[in-house]
Amino acid sequence: MAQRIAALPLRDRIGSITSGTLAWIYAALLLVPFYYFIVSSFKTNEQIFESPLALPATWDLSNFATAIQQAELGLAVANSALTTVAALVLTLLLALPASFALARATGRAGKIVESVFALGFLIPSFAALFPTFLLAAALGLFHTRTFVVFLLPATALPLSIVILTSFMRTIPRELEEAASMDGASSLQVLRQVYLPICIPGIATVLLLNFLSFWNAYLYPLILIGPDTAQRTIQVALPTLKVDAGTDYGVLMAGTLFTLLPVYLVYTVLQRQMQRALLSGAVKG
């Protein structure tokens, strides 16, 4: 490697050095905050301020206990889990039949419906947060998890449908025609022929939406509100930050706590998760 580089013109040598250096500097910049907040979650404010990068003197879990108790993080995790799972189920219930229909549709109507979903990314849903809030109030669901469970699938439909439709297009029509000939209804064809083949696509959609639902912040903040019995983990976490006198150790312990479920899933399903995150942009 070194010899090959030495033979290159100066500009290229700089090029290869810079992109490599950049890469590892960025990797360090990704890791240092992690290291910092993990060690900080075992320290007191004084220890954090005096020696930010030192390992903690003791691996004392009291910050975690304080964080969980102070922001009622246990309850918040339960709320997040409930909201996320319900929204994921609803997303699949809506997106699977829709993708199935769109993959088989041959007429103009199908194309129009499909482009409505494909253009969904243009909708600045954050800008329309206030009308969404009015909708929640009009449905009598303001300050409930229920409304967020209804809303999140809508935000995820465009991408979910685009991914699942392209998956279902790969299934040969003959398979379906054979099933129809045996007298199977549309829904039976969907369940018995399409679903088993689409499992990887469904996994991708589930993982992608798991991340975006679990991590959702502004919608739950405005629509569920601060009620500790209903609020999600993402809304609960920032309440550990106080204008005067934040206990940084507790704040970092709380942050670590909220990240655990995501990292658990990432560690177990690393390949699938990476593929899901990529397919969000790469499918086209």
Partner: protein
């Protein structure tokens, strides 16, 4: 929102999707009309399209508080918006954020992707690390940066031995916007790099080897070969990050600075939030929403024009 934004590339790459592989053919009504798509369509119309339509209506109403009765005001809200210094401060902040932040993010992400694709030692570790920011929620990212950037935080702790006196990065008007942009770069570069790398992975190895034998070095390979090949795809990633910066910045601003000090970190997206939920000036807020929508379209058009495929 992530999901919405991520739908972008598909739509951008494939605006009109082909019907069936067999083309138009005779079928039952059920085949021609995708009835099973109706529930999803209705759901989407009620929860996504409805609020956006309402946004366009409210932008033309005078509605100075939740308990007031809204009245039509024509272009009144827009007149107020354009006469407001805070709005122009927000335009400037959003402009800086995008004009500075976006090119830096895309160029660095491209160089990173290029490096990873060459499979240097440790590239697997690198790929694993690059995904990290994509997994972390906005509140968690914001809390970590809040801890690092406070006057007694890590950044000052590292700089102090070098003779710098403590800066309150998030509370100093000179550095607050920069800090917000840094947070977005931190979380955006990795994911963009991973996306771009997935496209660069598809570049034919033999062409690259042939170019190397001809004496092309890394710098030239990156900019003369990989960049043109991946150009349109990089455009898609740029659009994705553009929309995310434009709209999602509201979250990091809300969590870290609440638009302050003064108006130094008030971005357009945050202004919409602030006017609606803090000051209850609803017509104003939604008028800015409409403006942001138009800016989003214009920006997408510009990026598409700048980075469209040349071949």
């Amino acid at each position: 929102m992530t999901a919405l934004v991520e739908a972008g590339p598909d739509a951008a790459v494939r605006p009109a999707l082909p019907g069936g592989p067999a083309g138009p053919r005779r079928g039952s009504l059920r085949d021609r009309f995708p009835g099973l798509a109706l529930p999803a369509l209705v759901w989407y119309a009620v929860f996504m399209i409805g609020p956006v339509v309402a946004m366009f209506v409210i932008a033309f109403l005078s509605w100075p508080g939740m308990l007031e009765t809204p009245e039509p005001t024509g272009l009144g809200n827009f007149a107020r918006v354009f006469a407001d210094e805070t709005f122009w401060a927000a335009v400037a902040n959003s402009a800086i954020q995008i004009v500075v932040g976006l090119p830096v993010m895309i160029v660095l992400a491209f160089l990173l992707a290029f490096y990873v694709v060459q499979k240097p030692r440790g590239h697997r570790v690198l790929r694993y690390l690059l995904f990290i920011p994509a997994l972390i929620s906005a509140p968690a990212t914001a809390m970590v940066f809040y801890a690092m950037l406070n006057p007694d935080g890590l950044v000052n702790g590292v700089l102090r031995p070098l003779g710098s006196e403590g800066t309150a990065w998030l509370a100093d008007p000179g550095t607050a916007l920069g800090a917000i942009i840094a947070v977005e770069l931190w979380s955006g570069i990795g994911y963009s790099a991973v996306l771009i790398a997935s496209r660069l992975d598809g570049v034919d190895v033999e062409i690259v080897q042939a170019a190397r034998i001809d004496g092309a070095g890394d710098w030239r390979l990156a900019w003369r070969m990989y960049w043109p090949i991946a150009r349109d795809f990089i455009g898609v990633v740029a659009m994705l990050q553009f929309l995310s910066m434009l709209f999602n910045s509201a979250q990091s601003v809300l969590l870290l600075t609440q638009g302050g000090p003064g108006t130094s970190t008030t971005t357009l997206a945050y202004l919409i939030y602030q006017k609606a939920f803090v000051e209850a000036d609803l017509g104003y807020s939604q008028a800015v929403g409409v403006i942001l929508f138009v800016i989003g379209l214009l920006g997408m058009g510009t990026i598409h024009r700048l980075l469209r495929a040349t071949h």
